[in-house]
Amino acid sequence: MAASRGIGQFYPVASPLHALDPRAKILATAILVVGVFLIDSMAGFLVISGAIAALVVVGHIPTRTFLRLLRPVLFIVALTVFFQVLFSREGATLFEWGFVEVHSGGLRLGFLLALRILLLVSAAGLLTATTAPVALADGIEDLLSPLKKARFPAHEVAMMMTIALRFIPTLGEEAEKIQKAQAARGANFSEGGLVHRVRALVPVLVPLTIGAFRRADELAEAMESRGYRGGEGRTRYRELRFRYRDALALIVTVMILAAGVLA
């Protein structure tokens, strides 16, 4: 029941986007990501931003929740823009103070870069918000399965991802519990300088790590006792089915991308 919801958080509601095949959504996201790097005009960015905004609505995700997904990257965006603006020497000089120079080209590049990062994160956030972690891992396994011919352990990779994703909230809960237990013993995580705060985390991290190893052991034993022996010949409980609407979603994505590049 951790209160913190951030990037990568699944938002469990029923929507046309949630209903799509995870493979279609992963491919569409990949197409959008590539597109965001191809686009170089303001009009193109407007097209993509508009499309993502529309998808947020179609996905029944409240705008505020979605914007909250972006909050953790704002710092990185600000930092990138800052350096881009300071160190670019393109175009007319707008501002000069000692060795600090701001050029119009730098401003433009910085702005586009910020948009690019935000759109990348939005696209990825949209994928994880509308796709359950397990479905996501299933989709990735399926998309990677051609590589099995080249002895790439697609199933094992997907299983590791599933387990990792599955245990993020569990570890989060565990961390919260331990933090509370230590707070009840007088620990304070929100006061003092950086060194003090890092040291205050030791009583949380030690038991958390020990607990994680114990859990991993238990999980391995539970899986073995239920007959798990790797991906060879393993069938699926949830069969993925690629329908017309999934193909349609991909076509629409390509069209949006084309519109963005040509705009």
Partner: protein, 271 residues
């Protein structure tokens, strides 16, 4: 000290699809020096309730009062020292290389001197019957030993109210009996104990009062006899046996403790 909860409500993850209403207006007091048991099914709000007692969780509405004063006006560290809270499976939070260092964590944090800390560590380990484990690594202990040590870690703060959330879950009978002995000892020393448990037989033996939680509200609060005889589906074996005899033998009374019940039944048989 007297701890009082007034119309406490709590909601987890409000405003999200994960929203859960855990408490729907609980009013309850912990009187000085009493043992108050909180019982109820899983998900009835017991654990959420006790976390309000030292404000690890803040009520969505309602108040927590310490000797009549709003607990929010007290310093957090002070409140947490006076109301010691032992979580479910507290051994999951052991972290130091040796038992005595782990138990010393809390008294150090509240700013006691080294000498005083050593005394507290010794006393609280002795109180839980773990004095001989002081030099050991907490990770090499048995489940029951870990539990004792973890409880000592909270006891070392010298709380005026000790809240134990399912302290006997998953323990062997001998360790359970020892912990019940600890609860009785604390009560004799004037410390209030809040005892959350699923084991109604334990409640029957140590509780002065019982609070039965259901669906986020306190359905019944009173002496064990009052609460158990009015809620037989949540009563220990002693009460259920006597209740089954009561219609035919009204003279049996309302015994709760094992000894009282044996005496009442003996009287009935010999009478």
């Amino acid at each position: 000290m007297r701890l009082e909860l007034r119309d406490v409500h709590h909601v987890y993850s409000p405003g999200t699809p994960f929203e859960v209403v855990a408490l729907r207006g609980v009013t309850l007091s912990v009187e000085p020096g009493e043992v108050l048991s909180i019982v109820g099914g899983t998900g009835s709000g017991k654990s959420t309730l006790v976390q309000h007692m030292n404000l690890l969780l803040v009520p969505a509405s309602g108040q927590v009062l310490v000797d009549g004063e709003d607990a929010r006006t007290l310093k957090k560290s002070e409140l947490r020292r006076r109301v010691g809270l032992v979580f479910q499976f507290p051994e999951a939070a052991l972290f130091a290389p040796t038992v005595q260092e782990d138990v010393a964590f809390a008294p150090h944090r509240i700013g006691l001197g080294d000498e005083e800390v050593r005394t507290r560590v010794r006393q609280s380990l002795a109180a839980v019957g773990a004095g001989h484990l002081a030099e050991r690594s907490p990770f090499a202990l048995s489940g029951g030993e870990k539990r004792r040590v973890a409880i000592a870690g909270v006891l070392a703060m010298g709380p005026e109210v000790l809240v134990l959330d399912e302290p006997t879950a998953g323990l062997d009978p001998a360790t359970r009996q020892d912990l019940l002995g600890l609860v009785r000892g604390l009560r004799e020393a004037g410390i209030s104990v809040v005892f959350v448990t699923h084991d109604l037989d334990e409640v029957a033996e140590v509780a002065d009062r019982v609070c039965l939680m259901e669906g986020g509200v306190a359905r019944a609060v009173g002496t064990p006899a009052e609460v158990f005889y009015a809620n037989l589906e949540n009563a220990p074996a002693t009460v259920q046996i006597v209740a089954g005899l009561k219609a035919a033998y009204p003279g049996v009374g309302e015994p709760v403790r094992f000894e009282e019940t044996t005496a009442a039944l003996r009287e009935l048989l010999e009478g």
